[in-house]
Symmetry: C2
């Protein structure tokens, strides 16, 4: 339990420095939460009061289109942050789902808590700024991959980037992430 907070502190310290006093101030703002496989962290229409840092487990954030097809925005692994950021930041009803692919454990941070710790501890504001910048860059890369690569090339790129993930989740979810049908995905590989 305590170890998990240590993990979180180290996560912050990958990008910024924190004094013990600063850490003591921010630590209580993170609330532990656990969910089992197939349980929802966020559902469309709901208010989104938190963002979550994943201690253990695996989740997916996704939208469902009119035809009922699932389209995955993000696979969220250990040490990742996840939420419906549009809903969270702009305090609007959620427009995506987030649920657990495996039993998972997180730290929940509310919007008020985030604003408080960002205000009181400039290093944390910087952490979130840098984190968000990195997230922005990752999404740009994904957009370029959707614009420039074939589904098969995207599959191989993912295989290279997160080899572990492909073993860990059903192929149909990989397909829903890559933007290709399960059948077509099953026809490439090798």
């Amino acid at each position: 339990m305590n170890d998990n907070y240590q993990l979180l502190r180290r996560h912050f310290e990958e990008l910024v420095e924190l004094t013990d006093e600063e850490w003591d101030f921010i630590r209580p703002h993170f609330k532990d939460k656990k969910l089992k496989k197939r349980q929802f962290l966020i559902q469309t229409g709901q208010q989104v009061e938190h963002e979550y840092w994943i201690i253990k487990g695996l989740l997916k954030s996704y939208a469902i289109d009119e035809k009922g097809n699932e389209h995955i925005l993000q696979f969220a692994l250990e040490q990742y942050w996840v939420s419906d950021y549009n809903a969270f930041q702009n305090q609007q009803p959620a427009s995506i789902y987030v649920d657990c692919i495996e039993d998972s454990e997180f730290f929940a941070l509310s919007l008020e808590s985030r604003e408080i710790i960002c205000k009181e501890v400039p290093a944390i504001a910087n952490f979130f700024r840098l984190k968000s910048n990195n997230g922005f860059v990752s999404l740009q890369k994904r957009i370029l991959s959707l614009l420039t690569q074939t589904a098969e090339e995207r599959y191989h790129a993912l295989e290279e980037k997160l080899p572990h993930l492909i073993q860990r989740v059903p192929k149909k979810l990989i397909a829903a992430y890559l933007g290709v049908s399960r059948e077509t995905l099953s026809r490439f590989k090798l």
Copy 2:
């Protein structure tokens, strides 16, 4: 000229509050720059020392694939920020191009300047954090549109979001942004 700085100040003040002293501190970090149509702001391989706030004009940021096709990441209009953020933040060689679709004018902010003003003026750190969060959310929406919509649906969505833009740039650039060939784009519309 002075007016442009006023515009920038107002742009910051859409998200955060600034005192006159804070503004006087940050203002000199923004350097005026102008380019004409077809000139490059950033080219692949170059070091990227600045991000830019657009006072006037229109630019595109894009990648070129092996077949020589252009894929547009962003159209950057007045009041938008643009750079190769991966290259800028991680101080790596640029992997995209940014050039002017129209004669343009910007304020350039160096990475050092950004870090200085973020450190000295917490409101500015917050501004960039919020801005980056919003950018992240926009890119997520674009990814979802690429995953869930047909090219024609994406065209109509863009038409609705930025009607003005469609008049302002050649259709082949709209096609390069939507991820569709110019011929196919020319076949929908109405």
